[in-house]
Amino acid sequence: MASEPGLVRPAAPLDRQARTRRTRELSDGHFALLIGLPVIAFLIAVVGYPLIYSIWMSLHKIVFFGGYRATFAGLDNYASVLHDEQFWWSTWVTIRFTIESVLLTMVLGLLIALLLNRRLMLGGLIRTLIFLPWCVSLYGAGLMFAYLARSQTGLGTAILGLLGIDATTDFLSGSSIIEVLAIGNAWTMAPLVAMFILANLKTIPTRLYDLAAIDRLSAFETFRYVTLPPIRFSLFVFTSITTVLSMKLFDFIFVLSGGGPGTASATLTYQVYKRSFKELNLGLGSAMSFYLLFLIIGSTLLLFLLWGRKEKPL
């Protein structure tokens, strides 16, 4: 049993006297500077530099073949992205994939958390197994769902075969590939969400449930008035996190469908990869990646304005 954190008192430091004598304390600002500056500097160097490099590339036309040449192109790349049908298609795919992923993840995460909050037999084992999907790498998950959903090697066909039905289940088709991807994505993310919601649920005193029972609240009312309020803010935070993670997801899609069939599951990340990396059209790829970044930031801002603003941390 862990002790109450507020009561944790470490053994008194040996040099207490020396410490008390030290009267001058670092101010908040100085201490923050001391801790924060090296980190911020590191982040600026290794995140800021590539970002600025990206901006530079997006403003240039870059050719490698027959000697490297970069010519300034202004906003041409940004303009040509907007005229690119593939870009608009990919934007739509990204939005559809993200909405499905986030809804599924949040519902599943909540369900898992509510379930794990009950006292279960073999609780440790069950929790381990339910958290396992989050530990599986995204490329591993991509392979798993590819083999699972494919009609040639998949579970659907196997079950039909077992029942003696000579038919196949073709989930990796243009019409359902995004749903397969969203399900797989939710499969990997839901345990993380569940873990944090569960931590919140544990803070609800059990007597509140006893009171709810005395007041003869229905199960739904209990959920709404007892369970929901303390986890609302977490729900908002994780809706934002899963939105960001879904929009920037690449390896899972790369391994599972390769953007296919055709371009049915070519999300913006896949489109950027194709432009920048396979076609080495670095200017266009960079410009497109900034639209993706705007989309990510825009959606989280929108979430905040529509929802997050109203939620107060407890």
């Binding site: 954190p5 507020g6 008194a12 430091p13 410490r19 030290r22 304390e25 908040d28 600002g29 801790i35 980190v39 982040l43 290794v46 995140v47 530099y49 590539p50 970002l51 990206s54 898992i112 379930l115 009950r118 279960l120 069950i126 929790r127 381990t128 396992l132 999907p133 530990c135 599986v136 790498s137 995204l138 490329y139 998950a141 798993m144 769902f145 083999y147 699972l148 040639q152 090697t153 579970l155 066909t157 196997a158 039909l160 075969g161 077992l162 797989g184 499969w187 873990m195 944090f196 931590a199 919140n200 977490s234 690449f250 790369f254 920048s276 990396f277 960079s286 993706l292 970044l293 941390p313």
Partner: protein, 286 residues
């Protein structure tokens, strides 16, 4: 707590199936013989447990019961090298991430200073940055700095993923700890003393979860590894494994490798769930 009934059991069972099924489908492939893998419709259970693949991917020949020898996979030395590299990278990234992020998150969570919100937003921006858009700049930068194809380069890139994400997570967590700073000062703790002797022990569950998240990010990172260390001596396990996807089909070897990659995180999952109960004492995200 409230009574458990048949519905609860059913729900638990369904969630377990949901969580395990994709993993099972892959694990079972590791035990299928090459002939069974091409069967149509595919078999749901392996008929005999063919463990040759596990030996093969680690570089050993394996003789089946009927005397046929299955040769070691040619990918084995890269898988082994990848395994070692992945462990090195994941451990170093985890340690550095914690060293950087714990003080950082503490500062952001509990102290007030100028430009705080601006800097906080910069961290969040780093979370939002998609790896595909920094892939080429990183490659170009690393080629110039002679970091392409090195573990150092990979550690640097992984840190750009773990530091912002873990910081984001821990800031919320620290914000919720009881206010002990004033008491600490009276007790004669310095700023650093407060952090290391009071805050960190109080937050050990949150820090443990943060460590796990950093470890998993680094262990599972694929996109950058594919571009930066693919085909070099700094190859990690994910890229070594993706070699099984191409040209020469050996699905059972591929599956055996995937099982290998799940084992360490599986232990981690066990560890993680134990900490959830302790984390619950404070609200992690605020």
């Amino acid at each position: 707590m409230r009574k458990s009934g048949p519905w609860l059991t059913l729900a638990t069972l369904l969630l377990l199936i949901w969580s395990i099924l994709p993993i099972y489908w892959m694990v079972r492939m590791a035990f299928l013989t090459p002939a069974e893998i091409t069967q149509f419709p595919p078999p749901i259970f392996p008929t005999r447990f063919n463990i040759a693949s596990f030996f093969n991917v680690l570089g050993f020949d394996h003789t089946l019961a009927d005397g046929t020898m299955v040769r070691a996979s040619g990918q084995a030395n890269q898988v082994l090298r990848g395994l070692v590299n992945s462990v090195i990278v994941a451990v170093i990234v985890t340690v550095i991430t914690l060293v950087i992020v714990v003080p950082l998150a503490y500062v952001f969570a509990r102290l007030e200073f100028r430009f705080k919100n601006l800097l906080l937003n910069a961290v969040l921006l780093a979370v939002a940055l998609p790896p595909v858009s920094t892939l080429i700049p990183f490659y170009a930068m690393f080629v110039q700095l002679k970091l392409a194809g090195t573990l150092t380069g990979l550690v640097l890139v992984d840190l750009t993923l773990t530091v912002p994400f873990v910081a984001w997570m821990l800031i919320g967590y620290f914000r919720n700890l009881p206010p002990v700073e004033r008491l600490a000062r009276i007790d004669g703790y310095s700023r650093f003393g407060t952090l290391f002797f009071l805050i960190v022990p109080m937050a050990k569950s949150g820090v443990a979860v943060a460590a796990v998240i950093a470890f998993l990010f680094a262990w599972n990172e694929f996109t950058f590894a594919l571009i930066l260390v693919n085909g070099t001596t700094a190859n990690t396990l994910p890229t070594a494994i993706s070699g099984f996807l191409f040209q020469n089909p050996q699905p059972s070897n591929l599956a055996a490798c995937i099982v290998l990659t799940i084992l360490p995180p599986g232990l981690v999952a066990y560890f993680l769930q134990r900490h959830v109960a302790e984390m619950s004492l404070v609200d992690p995200v605020r």
